[in-house]
Symmetry: C2
Subunit: 411 residues, 2 copies
């Protein structure tokens, strides 16, 4: 007998027919003798509709009311899926965040889970009942509904799996696993059988939108074995194997690079002739941070002639205007000559825990890009990834070149 937490996202519960398919999948797991906890998102589109209503009611909407309104989507889908399971002859009961409870902090709109009381869930599972949990939501210390932020149902699932010490946490999505690169661009991309938490974390934060970053962090720190697989089941409810996200030591034959990712949500700002004195970086990035603009890659060039440097950094494309506004407002104070924006850039990254023990990974990247005449604008590295900023038009070319250069193409 295994205890499995299975999470189904919005497109997996978009209508009652899809819910009946899930019921079939869950039923086969139950009949195989497993204890099943299901975590559901709201039906596709519902959350967006509710968010739009809340915004229309009050543009500066109160986060407490926003959370209460938006969480109703999961209340409906958890109830409906329970009814579909019952209709399929499976004992099932829905649970809202406040009923379990899933205790969170009071940061409405992006609350963090503090603890889960698993007593009721364990009791129901022992009675062979499927527990259908409304994802994305919890209960604040003030007894109000909180939500965990976009993609929060992944976090609900992983947190439940951790609290229950479940054997596995299956995340059913509209893709059938984690790929070495985006298969829509790199046709030779392969589905990975296994990937480490660290790699998944880098890939999630670098634009592979398979799992919410926080859910991967949580899985890593609690060593919850994650599986990403497709909710589009085949004949007889059979499920294709997906990708397992596991600890590094569980992967015997580690490849040097596991994936090549990209993000077009990038914009570059170059500040010309920034005075070269101590504290100038803080003076620039302080106001941006205060305005909630996240700065990602930073590079500083020395221009020796007049004690001034050029400073280049990247922000999310949607925050470019705000960033420029902030910079302009303190231009005289900072003393730079001009700000030069460029939103036609993309970030390409190679990710792999194998980098730690293998030299020459960066060299191979730069060589492959040079071979295709792709100019590198900014470079940043971490222990298990190398990212470069390039002109956006070369995105596809760079992805395919790197995928091939690291031997990731399927044979």
């Amino acid at each position: 007998m295994a205890q499995i937490v299975a999470k189904f996202g919005g497109t997996s519960v978009s209508d009652l027919q899809r819910m009946r398919d899930i019921a079939t999948t869950v039923k086969s797991e139950v009949e195989a003798g497993n204890q099943i906890v299901v975590v559901v998102s709201a039906m596709a589109g519902i959350t967006n509709d509710l968010v739009a209503l809340a915004r229309e009611a009050n543009p500066l909407h109160d986060a407490r009311e926003y959370d209460s309104i938006v969480a109703s989507g999961e209340q409906v889908s958890s109830g409906l899926l329970s009814l579909c399971l019952q209709e399929a002859g499976v004992s099932a009961r829905s649970w809202q965040g406040w009923q379990i409870p899933i205790n969170t902090d009071g940061v409405h709109g992006k609350a963090r889970i503090l603890g889960i009381d698993t007593e009721k869930i364990i009791k129901r599972l022992s009675e062979n009942q499927v527990c259908v949990i409304a994802g994305f939501q919890g209960l604040s210390p003030e007894n109000r509904i909180t939500t965990l932020g976009r993609g929060g149902s992944d976090t609900t699932a992983v947190a439940l799996a951790a609290a229950l010490k479940a054997d596995r946490c299956d995340i059913y999505t509209d893709v059938d696993g984690v790929y070495t690169s985006d298969p829509r661009i790199v046709t030779s991309a392969r589905k990975l059988e296994k990937i480490t938490y660290e790699e998944m974390l880098e890939m999630a934060s670098l634009g592979a939108k398979v799992l919410q970053t926080r859910s991967v962090e949580l899985a890593m720190s609690h060593k919850v074995p994650l599986q990403v697989l497709s909710s589009f089941t085949g004949m007889m409810g059979s499920v294709l194997p997906g990708t397992l996200v596991v600890a590094e030591e569980e992967i015997v034959e580690q490849e040097i690079v596991s994936g090549v990712t990209y993000s077009r949500d990038e914009a570059k700002i170059t500040l010309l002739q920034v005075p070269d004195r101590p504290g100038v970086a803080a003076a620039i990035f302080g106001p941006l941070s205060d305005a909630n603009v996240n700065v990602d890659m930073i590079v500083q060039n020395i221009s020796e002639n007049n004690n001034a440097t050029d400073l280049t950094f990247t922000v999310a494309r949607g925050e470019l205007d705000k960033a420029l506004e902030v910079l302009e407002s303190c231009k005289s104070e900072l003393g730079f000559l001009a700000s030069v924006p460029d939103s036609s850039v993309a970030k390409i990254s190679v990710v792999g825990v194998g980098m730690r023990s293998h030299a020459g990974v960066a060299k191979r990247m730069f060589a492959a890009l040079a071979e295709h005449n792709i100019n590198i604008l900014v470079i940043s590295t971490s222990e298990i990834k190398i990212s470069v900023l390039i002109a956006e038009e070369f995105t596809e070319l760079a992805l395919r070149a790197l995928h091939s250069a690291y031997g990731l193409d399927k044979t």
Copy 2:
């Protein structure tokens, strides 16, 4: 300073514009120094949509899941109205049944309120915050969401007013008060300034769908002053006076008859030649009751020739087929000759607490109907009402004749 519970039904919160109108109404009450508790229904149509989804998911739907799904409608409307109030500059907070809590029994789908913990509400009111309560729902002893049945938000409002000992409970609806008869049929019908609980109760259960019957019972037993008024406000949020529902002693000049009501939701069944022996009534009405068929008016005729009687009674029109099925299944046991159904009947009632002290009310009714050649099929009476069953085609004629006969026409 007055403490007022104001309930707004589904058509009053059908969209954000209507909610903003409510916010204006509530704001003027708050600015007048009053403490306001608002009870809201789901946005018009939402409850029906959710019910349809639940039924499609599982025709024999589990009432616990049904309640959880359906109650989400009030969760959304209470949140949105709170946002509209905040947008209008009024401090407001939404409250779900489980947050207060409004404790109910465990009869899902038609739960009864057992008690309301008013502590949090009183605290917020004292801080000049408007409390926006999700109507129609409560919390079962098993910590699950219950619903109070159709129209249950009226009951939520009255129960809150009783628990808070509020000065008034205002029920905003799409009519502007209680009329002496249906103004769509009787153009001379007048809006009543005041009506007693007992009369309202009879009129509610007789088809004047202004208030849920249970909410009137509750108001009567706790002496909550009720006001029925229109949510369609005039210029500057001004509200037209509605109808006050109060105790009998608060009405100085009591009219003999307050209203003439009708119901077309009636069907008549006549059982021919029912054996005239003790226990036969129980033998007939027992199985009907077991099948949840409510029997309303009953009349028994003696047919002396063969120790058998004809028995006539009425049921709701939608339950006629079920009733006939039940009767047919025990026909041989009961020994009647045949069942004769008739669904082209209507019930007309005159209601008034003044009947208690005035003779001749029935006589005037029968005379007025006779004058218009309307045949009476069945008669039933209570202390403050007289009902007759007539052929449905005479409904409008009978209503107008009686309205005029009791001097109710507006002058």
